[in-house]
Symmetry: C2
């Protein structure tokens, strides 16, 4: 009897340098990101809502088709539908039917929404500066941007490296 299963390659454990980088990343995710959420929550917003505001504010006419908005803000359509509701109720986002495609809807950041974003954005960016960039020297920031953009580009340009996502 021969074993026709492929032999498992030895695991590629993280070396010391990689472990250092990985632990730092975990610290950011487990401590800094919850801090950003607390600041937003103090103003009755979730991170989801900030992402919606940010994506719409950068779009032409502050308007995006809902599916484009979901893509641009990195969330599922379902989640968008659930969470955008409160923004519409508050009058900070308006949703209108698309005249050209009766399946589609467009979301627009209203003036009230823009005002809201202008209040929150400085608080959010201050959090990011304080927890992420303040401890770094300019050289470290440059090196971080280089590495991060390399990783980010690689992930976005190689979706085949990802497991199939359920429901999408």
């Amino acid at each position: 009897m021969t074993d026709d299963t492929a032999p498992e390659p030895a695991p590629r454990w993280l070396d010391a340098t990689q472990q250092t980088a990985w632990r730092g990343l975990l610290a950011i995710v487990s401590r800094a990101f919850p801090e950003f959420e607390r600041t937003l929550k103090a103003h009755d917003l979730l991170t989801v809502h900030y992402q919606i505001f940010a994506a719409l504010s950068e779009a032409p006419d502050r308007t995006l088709r809902l599916s484009e908005l979901a893509d641009g803000a990195d969330m599922s359509q379902s989640r968008l539908t659930h969470r955008i509701r409160v923004l519409v109720e508050r009058g900070e986002v308006a949703i209108t039917a698309d005249p050209d495609d009766r399946r589609a809807k467009n979301a627009t950041l209203t003036d009230a929404g823009m005002t809201r974003l202008e209040t929150i954005a400085p608080l959010h960016v201050e959090d990011v500066q304080r927890l992420i960039f303040d401890p770094l020297t300019p050289e470290q920031t440059t090196a971080l941007a280089d590495a991060m953009s390399t990783i980010g580009d690689h992930i976005c340009q190689h979706p085949e490296y990802l497991n199939p996502r359920p429901g999408s």
Copy 2:
């Protein structure tokens, strides 16, 4: 009438380099981390469970007091109580009363749990290598570790920089 409120300082917007770094970080969080979760979920585990396994496997006697485990794995005690239940039911973690302090309980990674971790860990580390470190040169990895550990140390050593956390 004089305005006695302090003037708002100008927001410290991100410069181009910082934006590059920030977008990369968001890409990692929104794409790579969900990928890690999908791999774990294919083996009936949540990230929470992996963190529990990892923390216990590194502890003396593979055992930690529950409150130490919650700290070490960066989660609230409440969340730990809720999510560790299934691991106990599966026999992968054992919980025993602490003989010295009758308030406390100790969690131990069982042999079955260790076997489980030895199955999953290579898959997880392969995900991390593939999505985070593979695109980087050795020099980029070194620079990333330097910046990340600087940020991580800063966050962990300056808890006064964080808003008060509810419930803790």
